[in-house]
């Protein structure tokens, strides 16, 4: 998912007000920007929505990496449209975060300085064309797993953003699977690319759900506030159960020797990803962390004169209009 390991912020608000707030949430009444909300709720949401928005933005990079090498005109258009959608998702999400009293520029600065995180998955490389298929299939697939329940999240603007975004994400997933299908049914070299992509992206996709959090204090608070709707393990299990038959249909092998159907639980048993690798990626030591942040910082720094120029022009126009009145 695009928001990982969100710690809930401690709240020191009036217990009466807190009780009332919780009652409204329990009744599925949406919280709107003007409503009273606990400080902890507000801060946690800013962190979660901000991280989600940053993920959409940084997520442009691994896919953008293949736009200039897309193999047909149609594939190039589909990929351009997808990356454009992701930037649009970033835009809605920043707008949702802004309703909580933080500015987009402020969030951006925190991303660029490394203070705020984005999903660990985007620190992995896209090395062959099938990766573009695998990203749509697995990464958008995992994102949907998390975001469909978030359509019911308690914060109104976030919930509405999720409803808009989910429609597009499922489209992305189908398009990704379609690329995988072409590759898996293609030449030997294409099959090899498809399997290679799955081999590299399988465990990082499982990591997207974050480590087990069934007993975590933060998770309990966030679930009570309906900022988080399911535990990480629930979502990961659902993802594995959905994805295994899809891989079989493609004729690809999931790189997990322990993968077996467990009749009793009605789901697959599977190997955990290497969590030490996950924590390394969070600390900045993933394969592409440095590249990603460098690319975003460069875009921001190189674009400063453009933002300043356009702002100055708008200011001149405003002044001219005022003078004319």
């Amino acid at each position: 998912m695009y928001a990982q390991m969100i710690k809930s912020e401690a709240t020191t608000d009036d217990p009466e007000k807190l009780k009332e707030f919780q009652a409204r949430i329990d009744d599925d009444i949406k919280v709107e920007p003007r409503d009273w909300m606990p400080e902890g709720y507000r801060k946690t949401l800013i962190r979660q929505i901000g991280q989600h928005a940053h993920s959409e933005i940084v997520g442009q990079l691994p896919e953008g990496n293949w736009i200039t090498r897309a193999p047909t005109l149609e594939r190039k258009m589909i990929l351009l449209a997808k990356v454009q959608d992701e930037a649009g998702h970033g835009l809605y999400l920043y707008a949702a975060a802004e309703t909580l009293g933080v500015s987009r520029d402020d969030l951006t600065e925190q991303l660029l300085s490394g203070k705020m995180k984005y999903s660990s998955i985007f620190n992995y490389a896209t090395l062959n064309w099938a990766d573009i298929g695998a990203v749509g299939w697995l990464v958008d697939g995992a994102a949907i797993m998390n975001q469909v329940p978030l359509q019911r999240t308690s914060y109104g603007p976030y919930s509405r953003a999720m409803i808009r975004i989910c429609k597009e994400e499922s489209f992305h997933q189908r398009q990704g699977y379609d690329i995988m299908m072409k590759m898996a049914q293609g030449t030997e070299a294409q099959k090899k690319m498809a399997q290679d992509a799955l081999n590299r992206l399988w465990y990082p996709s499982l990591m997207m759900f974050g480590p087990s959090d069934a007993d975590s204090v933060h998770s309990t608070q966030n679930m009570a506030w309906k900022i988080k709707m399911n535990t990480n393990d629930e979502l990961r299990q659902k993802f594995v159960d959905q994805t295994v038959p899809q891989a079989e249909y493609l004729g690809l092998t999931i790189p997990d020797e322990n993968l077996t159907w467990n009749e009793k639980k009605g789901g697959y048993d599977y190997s955990d990803p290497d969590w030490s690798e996950f924590f390394d990626v969070l600390k900045g030591n993933g394969p592409c962390n440095v590249d990603r942040l460098e690319a975003r910082n460069k875009a921001w720094d190189d674009g400063a004169w453009v933002r300043d120029g356009l702002m100055a022009h708008a200011e001149k126009k405003r002044a001219a209009k005022t003078a004319a009145e």
């Binding site: 454009q84 930037a87 835009l91 070299a189 674009g303 453009v306 300043d308 120029g309």
Partner: protein, 255 residues
């Protein structure tokens, strides 16, 4: 199809399709690297429109050539000497200002040419032009607005936009350099003689650039050779190396 030499018509269609293909490719290089999120979205959108137009132009070129090739074959399996795009469009992006200046100079041309092509004696061309001209009208509105905003922005943005105009101006003249292909198209009522568009073009860009407080260089020198295929810049080969790589490395695969 209009009653016109097939070879000539093909050349005309390649000029149209290669322009949008090469510029669409250049613009798509910005994806994820724009100065502000709204520009990431707008640039991706522009690239998307241009590649969509490419499919139509090159698709029709393939139909006219009628030798079993597809639009993709034309885009991904020709070498540099077969490309017929304007040199302007294959130049590297430069900074954001140069990219937007190039976009504006081309959008202005398209916004004048495409409405004329809607009256083409060739029905297929008229139909493509109808769709593309709507997009071009929107593109020129946007790029003109950005050129004005940056030209008449800060001292630095003004300086950069003037530098972009100075850098690109020698590539504008090629748009209007008519040759025998253009003469054949004009005679058959397929397309206007590009030289006949110059006056309207100068008026349009003159208005926008003066609002942008920019000065058009006092020179009518023009680099030529892209449209007629006599020569290209060194940059095109590198662009094709990237764009065509998968198709070249794995011939015969379907994607």
């Amino acid at each position: 199809m209009a009653n016109v030499d097939k070879e000539m018509l093909t050349q005309f269609l390649l000029r149209m399709g290669d322009n949008t293909l090469i510029l669409g490719h250049r613009v798509s290089e910005w994806c994820g690297h724009a100065p502000v999120l709204e520009e990431d979205i707008a640039l991706a959108n522009t690239a998307l429109d241009l590649i969509g137009q490419t499919q139509l132009w090159l698709g029709y070129a393939a139909e006219v050539m009628d030798d079993g090739k597809t639009a993709d074959d034309i885009a991904f399996l020709r070498d540099a000497w077969d490309f017929r795009n304007l040199l302007l469009l294959e130049l590297p992006n430069g900074d954001f200002g140069q990219t937007l200046m190039r976009q504006f100079l081309f959008d202005a041309y398209q916004s004048i040419l495409l409405p004329r092509l809607m009256k083409s004696s060739d029905q297929a061309i008229a139909e493509i032009a109808e769709k593309a001209s709507k997009e071009a009208a929107y593109h020129v509105e946007r790029s003109a607005e950005t050129v004005v905003g940056l030209g008449d922005g800060t001292e630095e943005s003004h300086k950069r936009m003037q530098a972009a105009l100075d850098r690109l101006w020698p590539y504008v003249g090629e748009m209007f350099a008519s040759d025998d292909v253009d003469a054949a198209m004009a005679a058959a009522g397929v397309a206007p003689d590009p030289a006949s568009l110059r006056e309207e073009y100068d008026a349009l860009i003159g208005k926008v650039l003066s609002e942008a407080t920019l000065t058009i260089p006092d020179s009518d020198f023009a680099h030529k050779g892209g449209r007629n295929g006599k020569t290209h810049t060194e940059h095109l080969g590198h662009l094709l190396t990237q764009m065509q790589w998968l198709q070249r490395a794995y011939p015969g695969a379907t994607w």
